[in-house]
Amino acid sequence: MSEVKYLTEFYHLNEFQGLDGYKKNGGYKELEKAFKMKPEEIIDVVKKSGLRGRGGAGFSTGMKWGFLPKNNEPRYLLCNADEGEPGTFKDRMMMEKAPHQLIEGMIISAYAINSKKSYIYIRGEYDYPIACVRKALEEAYSAGLLGKNILGSGFDHDMDVYVGAGAYICGEETGMISSLEGLKGQPKLKPPFPAVQGYLRKPTIVNNVETLAAVKYIIRDGADGFKKYGTEKSTGTKLFSLSGNVMKPGNFEVPLGYPLKDLIFDLGGGMKPGRKLKAVIPGGSSAPVLTADEAMRATMDYENLASLGTMLGSGAVIVIDDSQCMVDMLGTLTHFYHHESCGQCTPCREGTGWLDKIVHSILEGRGRLQDIDLLIKVADNMKGRTICALSDAAALPVLSFVSKFREEFEFFVREGRSQVKGTQYAQMHH
């Protein structure tokens, strides 16, 4: 099986980035089509299409829109382009190659939920994508695709870019709302959910770049046309970001339900010569790791991965080959979560630091055998105890790494050096 170019059909064209090139290749046709529909019809189609959020949680988009209160309060649409999950780089490509695709999808979505104002929250490090989206917005405004009375439909909409400043937690929807309000990007308590009280305590819908872009294609092909791809419960195509120890890393669009094995060995070009697959993290760094055996069986859809005890997440496939030390890799992950914990809830604030310290004391040869069990205990007690999912995201990799590669950890504790590399941590990369 090869790639399915559905969202990424024209990504190889340089002109697709600009408004003219975009229009030439079928751009903004669906917007006109959508304006002829009633907003409820659009929500209905999206619901029927089975589109699930592409950001990580995989929640049904149509259902999310349905949570909005039925009143005339102003409501906001936020596009989550704060792509921070290690291993993910699909939104960046979408914004660079086809900013208008996102904008069109957003206008349609905004029309569906009757929002007058939307923001695209892009992480601050993405200098070039920000410039691309800003330019596209200017073009759209001057072409009358944004502003008052868009294309004579009587629908007004304003869109703006908000640039983040480097915080993983702002990728969490309530964290993003806090950040947009000018506060620290700390997640807010739920309930109330953002769909009821979000940005400025008004109803707010937060969707991923890929989700919003996909809305355009659902309008084009209808719910059934979209469902053509994917499995029964995981519909449509998805962009997977392949990275790590593969020959050809990159973004690949495949239908959901695509075998992970094919993704790595066909599209990704397989392992480097002489190397064997050791483990795969299938859904961004927060997803529990799969061993090589499990990875061979896995298909990339929400249900199958859940049955393997992991998750699809943001679709970032991180491939680890047999030259890598798993203790070291877990060290990079715990360091990441320790660095990115917002410091609000105690279990996460203290727990991420504790995990990081334990893993690093093992790495530096100070570990004790009971530390391995302690890692599991600490991670277990961080799960589900906090406002947002960062605590879970930090705990799950630890649990899976330790349980699936326990002998490596034990070797490291006993010998003070890596089982795979045979060297001490200090000699590994300094």
Partner: protein, 157 residues
Amino acid sequence: MFQLSSEGLVEVKKELARYETKESAIIPSLFIAQKENKGWVSKEVVNYLSNVMDIPESKINEVFKFYTMFNQKPVGKYHVQVCATISCALVGARELSTHICNELKTHHGEVTEDGRFTVSRVECLGSCGTAPMMQVNDRYYENLTNESAMNILRGLK
């Protein structure tokens, strides 16, 4: 005393009017001020912005200290940030950052003697498919090797 240039001030005023709340302008304004203050935010900058924006210092300070893109210490002319999170680490980003440090005769997070470079290891920059990579000020350099990275850095004026 830190003071924004007149263009910077106009931009801050524009940002203040741009969003629904005044506080939303804190991040954009800090970016503007950081650019004008040689790449870092000092106490005076926060003080100044507080006066200009009419927002308590503690609020601006909270935001400034929360986000990693605001530097709390002076940095070199070129801030070299090497991503060292898992995807990059798998393909040798940490070795790369150590190599750059050795070549520039500096340590992570420190400014080189000539004041041109600060090398730091940072968390995921969203360029995992093209790892190892580094960000020099705003620009991404991807698919690096030890040599290509040093060539790029030497090529900077």
